[in-house]
Structures are given as structure tokens and as C-alpha cells.
Symmetry: C2
């Protein structure tokens, strides 16, 4: 049967609209990560009462074609959906196909009309003809032909009453046969769409951040500090790996400007030995392609990357396109900066505040020159073994530049991942994701109440998930929220548990496990910020004293590795609780979409008030994980090992000072 097309209308015979995955700005394509459970949706309907079916036809980057049936959501909005997990990396194409489902239409009408004694003979004859035609198709097995022939004969037999004919209408074997091989009419083919599938780490991972200069730094007898090096920092790798992290992110490792260097706590005066901010990049020792002499050599860095890889850690580098006043660029390419009427180069500023240790790049005087230099730098670090870049403040540079850079780099190296550190408004945040950034920092640190978190989780797991993959860092050298400043150890556990389970990527900046929660007064940063000085952390003493939550982080990462539902951005459902601070959500993935073939369900019940014990009843929609309403199911707390048999309404009591969060594995029901 030829597809129905109409050269002179935009509407197909069976109208379809609003396909998903989709980016609202149709100039851009949606993206996913390998193994992501991606909902494919479309609005489809037809006139009248006849029943339709909808398929999605996927073509993988290497040309494999597969066809998948969508389910009607019966949501009143004519949406259809199926969830598919593309594995192969590259650009997939997909299109939706809608058709009249002649068997389903007959089945529905026959059921109603034969039962009502209306047009019974007619409905039986129509059915018999359908079955006869289906039996004549080429690819039918002998048993299938027999089943169809028998059904047809039954429908036509004068000896068979209408009541008995209804048995054929209701035969599940026949329904299953036609569900697999629908009798299609008015086949309508939608337009082709694209979906970019990137490697799993583009969307999934547990990140850890440390300053290599602090790892192995020693205070000498004369009071000065001997910087840590790549070699000394290498010694910390096994511990980071043992905690179960996937990615180790390093702040800039380049020479730090000497001119206008900042002192401790962001002061304008420095004393000898103050190391300066790694983000004030460049000095006589070199620029963005150089390694800070205190850290070692480029060879040392490569060895560090290799050592990390041996521990199962991938190293991510910072990419901060800005310069200290003594960066080599300033002399060689003054046109890359803004020269003021008085002949000086403009500092970074947020009027009237100034940042005297940094010159921002002016992208408009020599856009081609800056593009070439940025590409050269990225290629340089790729050549050293780096495939992940955490981009500093990308929203302060032209969006156009990032679209070009990421497309150019990914054309050469599709496995390179860029994380946007853009704590900014939704339009530029989503704009960066749309332009190509594989990951984005998000608003997570400022979403602390139950209501805030519910909105945030819905936003990241559904509303923006076709375009943005958030990385839920719990803290950064720049962010120590009030919640962490005042919430104590419970706050640190709550935020880590939510970050590790609420998204698919999350991150921890070193010191978090030690509950470093003292802020510089009046600010949202740690006092004695590591950006401007060395940190001496006694990991062993903290282990011995039990003051670290490293074991908790370790357990969270173990749970993430064991549970594929937690390595998904989507599949998140919010559930109701009667308490204003008890947040409940589940993550579920179907067995058809996991490597093991088994479904996986994790239920998170969190007391997000770090100051109290809360108890309440929660109300679970267990149908999300396949348990009918009113049926029991077993859960195991993966933190404490406790097990319960729950129903849709469960009582919980969460003492923030003991275990503020249940992370429950919902057991497969037999």
C-alpha cells in the first residue's frame, strides 16, 4: 500500500505534530547519551472514530533501521509515546508513521455492535475479510494461517451464534497477532528528524574536583608552602577512585599571573608565596597551553592522566578563556582584549566592581584569530589525553563562539565533552546546551526546599531533558550555600544523596566530605577559599575520627553503579507526601532498556529539613514500576539495609541526625 501524501498541504492524511525529542528552537537538534532511555512522542489523531496506530522508524548512524510501536497515552491531548534507548553514538534520524489500524477499528466496533445486536452479520463479514486478507500475506507461518482461517470460518459460520462470534473478537492470540502486524491504511509518513547520541559520560558520571597544588602541599619550617605537584597529587587518586567517582576535574593547571595577583580571601594585596587564583591564567612561564611550573611538566601531567585512567578516573580540565595581565597573549595579541581610550586594557568588571587580576577576551576585534587560538589550545590538551573540558563562565563569551568551537572539536573528536559552568538565567543556560554543550551546571545548589526540588527535578528530568544534561555539583570553590553553612552534617548527606540520585551526573568539590562549612562572612564561599591559597586536609585523621562522610559518598556511588535507573536523567516520577519537607521521587527503567534485561526501580524518600526529625505518610504511584494500585511490594534501604513490605500508602520517619534519606530498591515482584 503506497503511503498517502499530498503535495499541496502541510498536513498529512493522518495529522501528526510536535514530535519529541525536540528542541523548541527548531534550528537545533535534540541530543541524548548512549544508553539513555529517550521518550519518543508525537501528537497524532484522525477524524471520526476509526482507530489509528503510530510507529517511529529509527535509523542509526551506521544505517540500521528499526520500527517501534508507540502507545496512545489517552491523555486527552492525542499524545503517543514509546521509550527507546539508542546505544550507537552519532547522529540518528527518526520519523513517525501513522496509519489507520483496520483490525483495531473492527475489533472495537464489532465488540460494541455485535454485543448490542447491531449489524452483527455485517461486522462478522468485515472481520472475516480482514482475516482472509491477512492470511494471504507472504510472511505468515502455517499456524498463523490456520488461526486466521479458523477465525474467518467461525465468523462466517451460520452455526455460530453472535455470542460465540464475540469469542473471536476477544481472542487475545488474534489481537496479539494483529498488534505485531497491524493492517494499515492511510499510511502517513512524517518528516525526518535528527537526534545526536553522544557517549555515556556526556550525560552520566560522578565527578570529583580537587586542586592538585593542595594535594601534597607542605608547609615548610620557614612558614612558606611547598606546592603539591602532579606527582604528589597522584597519591590521592586511589582514594578518589575508591570513593567511586568517574571523573576527576582539575581547576586550571596553567601558569598564574604575577601582576595584580589576588591574596587570600580575594584581597588585592599579596605576600610572597601566595599562589594566586588558577583562573588568572598566564605569566612569563606561559599561557593556556602550559603547565604551572610548580605542578611539574607536561610529561608529569600526562603521567597523572595515565595514573588516573589506571584507577578508572577520567581527568577533566578547566577551560577559562581569559588572561592575567602578564599572559603572553597580552603582548602578542593586544587586539584580543579591549583597549580603553586612555590606552589601558580593560579589566574584567561588574560595574563598579573590578577584577584586576583578569583581562576578559574581546571576541569581536579578531574573531577568526581567537577561534584559531581556542581550537589550538583544546587540540593541545586533547593530545595530552584530555577528553572532558569544564568551561569557565561560558555565558560571558559569545554563544556563537561556543557553537562553532564545540561543533569543530566534536567533528574531529566526537567523544570530547564540554561542561558549561554557566550560573545564569534560563535563556543563556539553555542556549548554551542547545548550542552544543554536553553538560551544564545547574540551579541545583539553590534548590533546597521540597517545593523547589520538586520543580527542579521535573524541569531537568523532563521539561529540558531533550536539550540539557545537568551536572548536580553539591558545592564548588565559589558556592557554599546557606543550607550547607547552617545545616551541618545532615545537610551534607541530604545534598549528596539528592545530587547522586536526582540527576544522572553529579559532582563534589574536595573538602565536602569533611563538612567544610565555614563561610567568609557575608559571602556564599568558603572562608580561606582554596582559589587563593593551599589547603592542607588530613584525610587519614578524618577517616580515623569518623568525621568524614567519604563512606557515605562511597556508598552513594556504589548504589549508582549497581542501579541503572540512577544512571538515567529521565524516568523520574514525583510522589506525594503529606509533609512539607519530605520529598519523594522514584526512578524507573524498563527491563527492555537495561543491559541486564531486568527493570530497575529506586525510590528516594528524603527529609530535606536538616534540622529535624519528620514523620509522615507518603503516597506512591506504584503503577510507575508495574505494581497495581493496592498491591504490596518489597523495598530495601540501600543505606541501612532495612527492608519493608510497602503498599501505596507508607509511613516514614526520617531523623536528619541519623539517616535523613531512604534510598530504596524496589524489588521486582514475582
Amino acid at each position: 500500500m503506497p503511503p498517502q501524501t499530498s503535495a499541496d498541504t502541510r498536513t498529512g492524511r493522518i495529522p501528526m505534530a510536535l514530535p519529541r525529542p525536540r528542541v523548541a528552537d527548531s534550528r537545533f537538534r535534540p541530543s541524548a547519551f548512549s544508553g539513555e532511555a529517550v521518550p519518543f512522542e508525537v501528537t497524532a489523531f484522525r477524524e471520526g472514530h476509526d482507530i489509528i496506530g503510530v510507529h517511529v522508524r529509527l535509523t542509526s548512524p551506521s544505517g540500521d533501521v528499526s520500527l517501534h510501536a508507540l502507545n496512545a497515552l489517552h491523555d486527552g491531548f492525542d499524545r503517543w509515546r514509546t521509550t527507546i534507548s539508542p546505544i550507537e553514538e552519532g547522529v540518528w534520524t527518526f520519523r513517525f508513521e501513522a496509519f489507520g489500524d483496520d483490525f483495531a477499528t473492527w475489533e472495537h466496533a464489532a465488540e460494541l455492535k455485535i454485543a448490542a445486536g447491531v449489524d452483527s452479520a455485517l461486522m462478522r463479514e468485515i472481520g472475516a475479510r480482514l482475516f482472509d486478507a491477512a492470511g494471504r500475506e507472504k510472511d505468515r507461518s502455517a499456524p498463523q494461517r490456520r488461526m486466521l482461517a479458523e477465525a474467518s470460518a467461525t465468523l462466517r459460520s451460520a452455526d455460530v451464534s453472535d455470542d460465540d462470534a464475540l469469542v473471536v473478537v476477544r481472542d487475545p492470540a488474534i489481537a496479539a497477532f494483529f498488534h505485531e502486524r497491524p493492517v494499515q491504511s492511510l499510511l502517513t509518513i512524517g518528516p525526518d528528524h535528527e537526534l545526536l547520541v553522544e557517549r555515556e559520560r556526556a550525560g552520566v558520571g560522578a565527578w570529583y574536583e580537587f586542586f592538585p597544588r593542595s594535594e601534597g602541599a607542605r608547609r615548610l619550617k620557614d612558614g612558606t608552602v611547598k606546592s603539591g605537584t602532579f606527582r604528589t597529587a597522584t597519591k590521592r587518586l586511589p582514594a578518589v577512585a575508591a570513593m567511586g567517582f568517574d571523573v576527576l576535574y582539575l581547576p586550571p593547571i596553567h601558569p598564574i599571573g604575577e601582576v595584580n595577583r589576588k591574596g587570600p580571601n580575594n584581597t588585592l594585596t599579596t605576600k610572597a608565596g601566595d599562589p594566586g587564583s588558577p583562573w588568572a591564567i598566564g605569566s612569563a612561564a606561559g599561557g593556556h597551553d602550559a603547565v604551572h611550573p610548580d605542578l611539574g611538566t607536561l610529561a608529569d601531567f600526562r603521567a597523572f592522566v595515565r595514573a588516573a585512567r589506571a584507577e578508572g578516573l577520567e581527568v577533566a580540565l578547566d577551560f577559562a578563556l581569559q588572561a592575567a595581565p602578564d599572559h603572553p597573549w597580552v603582548a602578542e595579541h593586544p587586539e584580543w582584549f579591549t583597549t580603553l581610550p586612555d590606552g589601558s586594557i580593560a579589566f574584567a568588571e561588574n560595574p563598579p566592581k573590578k577584577y584586576q587580576d583578569i583581562y576578559p577576551v574581546n571576541f569581536d576585534n579578531d574573531p577568526e584569530g581567537i577561534r584559531a587560538e581556542a581550537l589550538r589550545i583544546v587540540r593541545h590538551w586533547i593530545a595530552q589525553g584530555v577528553k572532558i573540558f569544564r568551561v569557565d563562565n561560558p555565558h560571558t563569551k559569545p554563544l556563537q563562539f561556543w557553537e562553532w568551537l564545540i561543533a569543530t572539536v566534536n567533528a574531529e573528536h566526537p567523544d570530547v565533552v564540554f561542561l558549561a559552568e554557566a550560573f545564569t538565567r534560563p535563556a543563556p543556560l539553555l542556549g548554551l546546551a542547545q548550542a552544543g554543550f554536553q553538560q551544564s551546571y545547574s540551579y541545583f545548589t539553590w534548590r533546597n526546599t521540597k517545593v523547589e526540588l520538586e520543580e527542579f527535578l521535573a524541569w531537568i528530568s523532563d521539561e529540558t531533558a531533550d536539550v540539557m544534561r545537568p551536572n548536580l555539583f553539591v558545592n564548588t570553590p565559589d558556592i557554599l550555600t546557606e543550607y550547607l553553612q547552617y545545616g551541618g552534617r545532615p545537610a551534607y548527606k541530604i545534598r549528596a544523596a539528592l545530587a547522586a540520585t536526582g540527576g544522572a551526573s553529579y559532582g563534589v568539590y574536595a573538602g565536602y566530605e569533611l563538612i567544610e562549612n565555614v563561610a567568609r562572612p557575608g559571602s556564599e564561599e568558603n572562608i580561606d577559599n582554596e582559589k587563593y591559597e593551599y589547603k592542607f586536609r588530613d584525610w587519614a585523621a578524618a577517616d580515623a575520627a569518623g568525621t568524614t562522610i567519604a563512606p557515605y559518598l562511597t556508598r552513594l556511588n556504589e548504589i549508582r553503579r549497581a542501579h541503572p535507573a540512577l544512571r538515567q536523567l529521565r524516568g523520574l516520577t514525583l510522589h506525594w507526601s503529606d509533609d512539607s519537607a519530605i520529598l519523594v521521587f522514584s526512578k524507573h527503567i524498563d527491563g527492555a532498556l537495561t543491559a541486564s534485561g531486568r527493570p530497575d526501580t529506586i525510590l528516594v524518600v528524603a527529609n530535606v529539613d536538616p534540622h529535624s526529625t519528620r514523620q509522615t505518610t507518603i503516597h506512591l504511584d506504584s503503577t510507575v514500576w508495574g505494581v497495581p494500585r493496592g498491591h504490596d511490594f518489597d523495598v530495601e534501604d540501600l543505606i541501612t539495609g532495612a527492608t519493608w513490605t510497602w503498599n501505596q500508602d507508607a509511613f516514614v520517619r526520617l531523623d536528619a541526625f541519623q539517616e535523613p534519606v531512604h534510598i530504596l530498591h524496589v524489588k521486582e515482584t514475582p
Copy 2:
């Protein structure tokens, strides 16, 4: 200055996204009616702190180009907006243009930095250079050049203190000069978009529906009925016009099938003289291009149309693509219907219900033949003077067909208006509007509570307004809601007032003014439905007895004619009331967008509970009509003539049995 483009990115130098007016399905274009106040919006932002400006460049169908500045909404989402009222009918194009606003950037930084004593000399010099450059432009008047030169000299003068230099920064004349003529950098041109502007009646109008056969029908002495005719119905036209209606819609005027004709109250048995449903079209007397012999001749119809036009009424015809079993099509074109295996033609049905007086058209056997016939019929009635068609149940025919038909008709006659009678789900409802229907029946009749109405009004006036223009019929021959059945005269007044003010088009089916509210038991239709019989209404007696609300409808239509804000679909704002049944909304239009040049504001305060008296405090956002918070303003009740001076919080008391609705004119403040 040349615009900034980048051949290799989809992002412009200044990113722009999500333009509006816009249809979510980008294959279709948005539409508006002539004189509609259309919001033009776009998301635009740039990196860093520099200030941008956004313009929209409109090109009218005849090629006139105009440029309009958008205002930043400061909503956190980087949206920009201006409202424009296109008058010329046809396809407009528009594009957004974003640019760095160098004066605004300087003004902002200079204000902060000079006041803080930071870089004062530098900021003064940058300003002086901006003013010098602006003064060198060609199209400057002598006073402008003088103003700029003086400002430049002041900024550079060593005798002028920083405090005095700030006077220049804050000079409103200079700010106004640069607001009109922004100093642009990084000019970014967005893509071209289209907006279809149709005649005002496509979006605005008060409709009245009557059955011509009832107007002048007489019961004869032998008990039979003599049908009304176009001639007798003509006598009713002055009364309809006097009520202030714009459009008179007639149910089908064609010959009615004799086969399987329905009797009173939709019964299957008829007796001699039962006129049948006008929607069962066609008999030996003719089909869709014929006039029912009882009504007169085609010449009589043309005379009726002329008489209506003389009264200021435009006649709308029904277009119902279906046939009675004795329609000439059935013999001539059996392929236009569905033939069943038993050789019979399929009736319309909703299994297991059947409609034996109607054969639905099958559009798939001979699509080209049906297209040609439908076009022939529409052209035929256009030739008789009809330019508005109310399309019966378009959602039961292929959407593709309507897209083709409307585009084809409008290419010949851009002023032809099609109203979709599609009481169906949102996807097909919006699909029909998107495919070209100028107007749509809506969910209005089933939105009766305050919360329902608030959602509905927001949906029609904003969410869907780029694509759909609803016609808020208060009743139809098929719809007599429970609200009307049980709410008495107050319900009829409330619904009429909401329909007349909530949308831009509304409609009334004859008998509404007489509070005809008795339903066929168990149904949502009038008993003794006019579809199946003649109605004898004694208008004069009702006038005399005061039992009609015709005077109320007349007043509503007078108010609509006097107030341009009510002839707008948009510009609606919901306001808060403390009562669960008191609905408050305003409609406002700026003076720049009205024919008179004066702004217009109507405030509607409705007690939507027809059974009670309610009193409450309402809370008005008077800034919508330009009155600052806390200031007084005067209102006049256009129904009762009462006047009050109100503030943002006002007390109201609405007795449903007296006047359930305030329609208040908010007076211009001096």
C-alpha cells in the same frame, strides 16, 4: 555598520530565539485580524553586562517597512516585547534585530562608576566620544548637534566636577535622543517570519443564529405548519440588527432528505409535515447548491442577503459535508460514500449508535472529485453574496482536506471566513485553526466556574491566540448546558456578558433571549429541538412582558461597539478576588493602537454563581491600564450607569438576581 553574521553557526552574534507570533508547529504561520493588537516577542540576550536593544522590522503586504523598538520585560527569561496593530490585510513579514546599545551601556556604567569615583575620567571621555560620533551623523538637526556638542564639552571640561558631569549622564533629553536613535554595535538580523492578517470579521463579531423556516412559520387551521421563508424571515432582520449583532448565521438552507427523516426530538418516526433536520442535506429537490423549496428561490436568498446587508448584518451559511440518503450525490457519486460488504451505504455512526438520516462522505475513494465538488459549492454560495461559512463538524473530515479547501478559497477570496464547529479535543481543535480556519467554536459553554473561566480566558487570550480565534457561542441548537438549564435568567445574563466581553467574537442562538431553558430529559439539548421542528416565538409579547433579555444583549453589543478593548482577543488580564465565584478580568488597549488614539480599558467583575448574592474584596493590578499602585481611578458601570472611585482594592457586591456582572469603563486619568 554591517550586520554581524556567521556563515557557520545557527546562533547570531546576539542570540535570539522563540519569536512570537508563532505556531508551535513551525510548518504553519500565525495569523491575526486587521486591527488586532499583536504582541511581538523574542528572547534575546548577550554575554556579559553590556546592554542590548531589540527592534522588530515589519513589512506590510504592499511593501511598507516599519521599525519598532521592543521593551525588555525584565522577567528573568530575557523576553522582549512590543505590541503592534497591523491594519493591511495579507501576509506580513517580520524579523527581529538585536544590537549592542552603546549609549545605554555607557549610561549604566557611567552612572555607577562616576558616582563611585571609579574611572571617572575614562567614563567621561568614552561618553564624549559617543556624543561626538553621534553629532557627526548625517540626519541631525542643528539643536541636536548643539545638545550633543555641549554635552561632550561638559564631560571633557576640567572645570566640571564629576558630580556635575553626572547631570549629563542623567539628562532625560539626551537619553530620549539616544532612545530614538540608538548607537548600535554587533547588529544581528534574525530570520524572516510571516504573519497572515485577515479582515476584522475573521476575529471580531457578534453573531446571531436563527432558522429561517421558523421566522414567519404559521400553524394553519388544519394543524399543519406553513414554513417561514426568506421573505418572512427578512422581517426579523431589523430586530436582529437593532440588538447590535454583526453576523447572522443560518443553519443549512438546502433541501432536506425525505428518506429516514428524523421526527421531533430526534425520533426515528415522522409524520406528514415534520420538516426534518436541515443537516440531513439533499433530496430530489437538490443538494448543497440548492435552496429548500419551502424557503423560496435562490433569488429570494440573494434578496435576503441584500436585505441583511442593508441592516448591517452579514449572512453566514452552514457548510455541512454530508448527505441524506436521497441526496443527488448518492446516485451520481456512490464512490463518495462507504459501501459496506452487504452493498449498503454506511450511515453516520458512533458505534453502536447510528444516524440513519445521514451518510458521511468518504474522502479517500475519490479525493480529487470531492475537493472539486466542495470547491464548486463554496464558489456557488460566494457568488450569491456569502463570505462566511460555519463548517459543521470539520473534525470528522480529514484535516488535510480543510487545509487545501481554505487555502484554495482564500487565494481567490481572501475575505472569506470559515468558522470550525469542532467540539473536540485540543489537538484537532488547534489543528483546524492551524490549518486555516479563521474561527473556532470553543469550550466556552462548558467553562462555568470561576477557576474554569480563568484558565479558559488565559488560554484563548494568550496561549493559543497566535493561531486560534474563538467564537464564544453561549448556546446552540445542540447545546443547552446544565448551567443554563438550572441557572435561570441570571445564568443567561452572566453567560452573555462573559461571552460578549471575554473573547472578541461571540454568538447567540435565537431563543436565548427568551430564556428557553427546558431540556429534553437527560440531554444537553433543548426539548423539542428546533433542528427537527418549527419554533413559534412571540417576540412582541416577550418584549411587552419584559421576559426577554434582548435589551441586555442590545446593551452588551452597544458596549462592544463603543469600546475597542472589547474588540480584541488579547490584552486580557485576570485580577484577584477573594471570593470563589467572583471572576475579575480587564481588557486594555493602548491609545497608540486605537483608531481614536485614546486608550480603552474595560473591567469585568462577574458573580458567576447564578444562585446567590456575593460580596467580596477584589484586588486590581491597575498598572495594566497605567494607574500606579495605590492611586485612585474612576469607573462607570456601563450596565447600570453607577460610578465609583476605586483603588487597587475594591469592595463589590453582586446580586445575581439583579445585576450579576459589572462591566466597568475605567476612565482615563487626567
